[in-house]
Amino acid sequence: MEVTRTPVNGDQKRDLRVRQLRAQQMLRDETAGKDLEDYVQERLLFTTLETAQNWARKNCLFPLGFGLACCAIEMITVIGSPRNDLARFGAEAIRFTPRQADLLILSGRVSIKMAPIIRRLYDQMLEPKWVIAMGACSSTAGMFSNYAVVQGADKFLPIDIYVPGCPPRPEALIYGIMKLQDKIMGTPDMGWRERYNAYGTEEKPETAIAAEGELA
C-alpha cells in the first residue's frame, strides 16, 4: 500500500526557509516590487484613526458604579458573578468616581429626588460618555406611573441604549453592552428600524432621506 505523507500545515521547513530568505532580503533592502507589497500587506493593518480609536474605546469601557434599585442587583451579578462576567468585554474596571468613568448604567428607578443628582453625575463625566438605561424603570418608568418616579430617564439625560426587562437578565444587559459597543464603533445595529424602514421624523439618517428624495 502506498502511503504519501503530506504535512497538514504546509511544508513548515520549506516555508520557514522561504521566510528566512525573504527576511534577509528585507534587511539588505533588496526586496522590491510585488514582493515588497505582499510583505507589507501581510503585516500591516490599515484602518482609519477613528476606527482604531473607537475599537479601543469600546473594548475598555469603564462603567460608573451606580446602582439604584433591583436592577442594580442584576448589574452586580453581571459584574461580579463568574457566570456572566463583564470582564470578557473589558468593562470590569468599575470606577466609582464619575470623573474617570465613561459608561453610566442607570440600573433602577429614578425618583424625583435622585434625578438632579444623576444629572450632576452625568455632567461630571468626561466626553465621550454613554448611558445605558437598564430595566424598564429607567427607560420609561416601568410600572411606576406615579408622582415619585421620573417617567423615563430620557427626560433629563440622553440615553444611548435601552435594555428592557424587570429586571433584565444578565444576558440581556450583556447584549445591551454589546449593542453599545457596536454603536461606539460607528456601526449601530438599528435592528427593526432598518428592516421595516421605520425611522422617526427626527432620526432619519441621510441615506434614508436621500432614498426617499429619489423616490418622490
Partner: protein, 431 residues
C-alpha cells in the same frame, strides 16, 4: 419642644440639621507648654460635616449619610433617605389585589418572596381563606431559599465594602445557583410573582426537587469555604470584632429586629415566636450572638443560612400532596381545563381577570420574618377590588435608625463596616 413652629418648612434649612455644630472643641494643652488660649486652637479641631452622598460605593444603594467627623472619628451621622422613593404604596391603591403583589415585591428587592408572602398573608387574613398545606410548604421552601440568596448577596456586598472582593465572586456565584432554582420553578430569576393570594401560582416542575437537593448538598461546603476565607483572616476579624456595638435595650427601643437584634443576644424570631405559614412544623435553631458587634452579625447570617438549608430539607422531605392554591374560585383562577367545560369557571375567570376579587371592608396588620427583620404589612380594604391602603413596615426602615448609635465614636472604616453589616435595602427603606 412642645411648641415647635407650626409649619416646619418655614425653618431655615441649616438650623434643622441639629447635629451640625461648628464649635471648636476644648483643646487639652500640650504638656510642657503654657495653657493655650482660644485663639491658638488649630482649625483641624473643628467638627467637620461631610456628605457620604447618595452615590457612593459603600452605601448599599442610594443612602445619604450626613456625617459629622472629628478627624477620622465619626461623632454623629444622620441618614437622609428618599432617593429611591417610588410611591409604591400609592400605586398599590390603584391596582387590583393580585396586581399589588408585583408592586410590593419590588420594595425590599433582595427578599422579594418575603414581601409577596406578607402581603398575601394579609389579604388571606382579610378574606379568611385557608392556604392548602402543599402551598404553605412551597412558600416556606421558596422563602428560605430567598433568605439564603439575600444573605449571600448581603455578605457579598458587605465583604466588597470591606475589601474582601473574593467573597463577592463567591457570593454571586452561589446566588446564581439559587436564582436558577427560582427560574426553574417560576420562570423568572428575581421578582417572580410566584406567591399568589391563596397559595402559589403553579406547582413545581418535575425535576425541581432533585435540583434543590443537589443545591442542599453543595451549599454547606460552600458556607465552610466562606468561613475558611473570612473567619480566620486577621484583617476581617480586626475590622469586625468589637465594632458597632449597640446595647440590646437600645435596639429594642428602636424597634430593630432581625439579625441585628439576634446578634445582640435576643432570640426574637417571628418564625419561632409567632409561627406563621406552617413554620411550626419544622425543627430549626435560631442563631444568636453574644456581644452584638459586627462580627456577631456576620456570623448570625452565616448560621441562619445553615438553618435555612435545614428547613428546606425538612420541607422537601415532608412536602404534602394536594392543591397548590386555594379552591375558592372567587379568589384563585380556576385551572384552564375547567374553562372548557364549566360555565361558572368561565365566569369566575372573567371576573377575576377583569375586576379582581373583592375583599370585605376591614384592616389588618400581619408580620413575618424577612431576612432583615420584621416585615409587616397593613392592608385596609374597603370592599372593592382595590385596596384602600397598603403599608409595608419595612425592617430596614427601622434598622436604619440604629445606625447613628452604631457609628458614634468609631472610625470611618468601622462605620463603613457597620453599614455593611446592617445590610439596609434602600428599596424597602424608601418604598
Amino acid at each position: 419642644m412642645t411648641d415647635g413652629p407650626r409649619d416646619p418648612l418655614s425653618v431655615p434649612y441649616r438650623e434643622r440639621e441639629r447635629s451640625v455644630t461648628m464649635e471648636r472643641l476644648d483643646a487639652e494643652p500640650v504638656s510642657g507648654t503654657a495653657a493655650v488660649t482660644e485663639g491658638d486652637l488649630d482649625l483641624h479641631e473643628e467638627l467637620f460635616t461631610i456628605n457620604i452622598g447618595p452615590h457612593h460605593p459603600a452605601t448599599h444603594g442610594v443612602l445619604r449619610l450626613l456625617t459629622t467627623l472629628e478627624g477620622e472619628v465619626v461623632r454623629d451621622v444622620k441618614p437622609i433617605i428618599g432617593y429611591v422613593h417610588t410611591g409604591i404604596e400609592k400605586s398599590c391603591e390603584d391596582q387590583q389585589y393580585w396586581k399589588v403583589i408585583t408592586f410590593v415585591e419590588r420594595m425590599d428587592y433582595l427578599a422579594y418572596y418575603s414581601n409577596a408572602h406578607v402581603f398575601c398573608m394579609a389579604v388571606e387574613k382579610l378574606l379568611e381563606i385557608d392556604v392548602p398545606p402543599r402551598a404553605e410548604y412551597l412558600r416556606v421552601i421558596h422563602s428560605e431559599l430567598g433568605r439564603i440568596a439575600s444573605h449571600l448577596f448581603g455578605l457579598a456586598t458587605g465583604a466588597l465594602d470591606m475589601g474582601a472582593i473574593t467573597m463577592l465572586w463567591w457570593g454571586c456565584r452561589d446566588r446564581d445557583l439559587v436564582l436558577d432554582l427560582f427560574e426553574m420553578s417560576s420562570g423568572q430569576r428575581m421578582h417572580t410573582r410566584y406567591f399568589q393570594v391563596g397559595g402559589v401560582f403553579e406547582d413545581i416542575p418535575p425535576g425541581w426537587e432533585a435540583k434543590v437537593r443537589e443545591f442542599l448538598e453543595i451549599m454547606p461546603k460552600r458556607l465552610d469555604q466562606y468561613l475558611a476565607l473570612l473567619d480566620r483572616n486577621e484583617i476581617w476579624l480586626r475590622r469586625l470584632k468589637h465594632t458597632g456595638i449597640v446595647s440590646q435595650e437600645r435596639l429594642l427601643d428602636l424597634g430593630v429586629t432581625g439579625p441585628l437584634l439576634r446578634a445582640s443576644g435576643h432570640p426574637w424570631d417571628l418564625r419561632t415566636a409567632m409561627p406563621y405559614s406552617s413554620y411550626a412544623d419544622f425543627d430549626f435553631n435560631v442563631p444568636i450572638g453574644s456581644v452584638g458587634d459586627n462580627y456577631d452579625r456576620f456570623r448570625v447570617r452565616i448560621e441562619e443560612m445553615r438553618e435555612s438549608l435545614k428547613i428546606v430539607e425538612q420541607a422537601l422531605d415532608g412536602l404534602p400532596e394536594g392543591p397548590y392554591i386555594t379552591d375558592d374560585r372567587k379568589v384563585a383562577l380556576p385551572p384552564r381545563h375547567e374553562l372548557a367545560t364549566s360555565m361558572e369557571a368561565l365566569i369566575h375567570h372573567f371576573k377575576l381577570v377583569t375586576e379582581g376579587f373583592r375583599v370585605p371592608p376591614g384592616e389588618t396588620y400581619v408580620a413575618i420574618e424577612s431576612p432583615r427583620g420584621e416585615l409587616g404589612c397593613f392592608v385596609l380594604a374597603d370592599g372593592s377590588a382595590k385596596p384602600a391602603r397598603v403599608h409595608i413596615r419595612d425592617p430596614s426602615f427601622a434598622n436604619l435608625q440604629a445606625l447613628p448609635d452604631m457609628a458614634r465614636d468609631s472610625l470611618i472604616a468601622d462605620f463603613i463596616a457597620c453599614v455593611a453589616m446592617l445590610d439596609p435595602i434602600l428599596g424597602g427603606v424608601d418604598r
